[in-house]
């Protein structure tokens, strides 16, 4: 195992524990804060596999913007802070636990069958992939890029229209 791989394993363990804590946390604000750790670990994973641009985008947009949006959503909906009983009943937990663990073990066994851990060679990350990323994004993927920017505009307008109070009507 290389040093990079040790670093990844540490980050992945922290991120996995945080991801499980997000869905298990009784307190919704704690869940949002665990989400910060989980998303940051994904960002560090991107950096470790050599995708610098996506990694920093992940940290800026997810950790910086989306979690703040979640915290605003929790505040505006006066979510029950503390132990809430309505959320998370034992029946739902049982069903979710069965489906979630079956899915995980299925995916894990499939992954390890296709790529056995001791036989798969480690691949070198592409050095300086940001330049190639930008060039490909604005050469081959210009149309999807524009469509995504239009989608963001539509989402912005839609969110404003949905969330504002109708005083006139």
């Amino acid at each position: 195992m290389s040093a990079q791989e040790y670093a990844f394993v540490v980050v992945a363990v922290i991120g996995s524990l945080a991801a499980i804590s997000v869905v298990m946390a009784r307190n919704v604000v704690h869940a949002a804060l665990f989400l910060v750790i989980a998303l940051a670990s994904v960002g560090v994973t991107f950096l470790l596999v050599g995708a610098e641009f996506v990694g920093w985008t992940q940290i800026l947009i997810y950790v910086g913007a989306i979690v703040i949006l979640f915290l605003f959503g929790l505040m505006l909906t006066k979510a029950p802070i503390g132990r809430d009983t309505l959320d998370h009943t034992w029946k739902n937990r049982l069903a979710g636990g069965i489906v979630g663990s079956l899915l995980f073990f299925g995916l894990a066994s499939l992954t390890l069958r296709v790529w056995p851990l001791d036989e798969t060679a480690s691949s070198q990350p592409v050095a300086g992939s940001t330049a190639a990323l930008g060039e490909s994004l604005f050469r081959d993927y210009v149309l999807p890029f524009e469509v995504v920017s239009f989608l963001l505009l539509a989402a912005l307008i839609g969110a404003i229209v949905l969330a504002r109070k109708d005083d006139a009507a």
Binding site: A65, G100, W115, S122, L151
Partner: protein
């Protein structure tokens, strides 16, 4: 340098945690957070394959997924706030008007 299956296992755990969250949690904001976990798992897979296959397309799709996820969270939270204003509750089980 990092072997591909390790990253894929990490992503599988993220995705399963997200599925558990969507199924088990009844708070609408928590359901949105769990959906974010699943989208992140997909991004991890896209970037891992992009890095292992030396193709940049996976990273571009990860960027698109991030943009769509941002739009989804914005609209989703707007709907949740509207729901709270109309029903004074964000329990997804109570929103059953369209249920057959």
């Amino acid at each position: 340098m990092i072997r591909l299956p390790l990253v894929l296992l990490f992503a599988a755990l993220f995705f399963s945690a997200g599925v558990y969250g969507v199924l088990a949690r009844r708070n609408a904001v928590m359901v949105l957070m769990a959906i974010e976990l699943m989208l992140n798992a997909v991004n991890v897979n896209l970037v891992a394959f992009s890095s292992s296959l030396h193709q940049v397309g996976g990273q571009i799709f990860a960027l698109f997924v991030i943009a769509v996820a941002a739009a989804e969270v914005g609209i989703g939270l707007a709907i949740v706030i509207l729901l709270f204003r109309n029903r004074a509750s964000i329990n997804v089980d109570e929103v059953n008007l369209l249920r057959w």
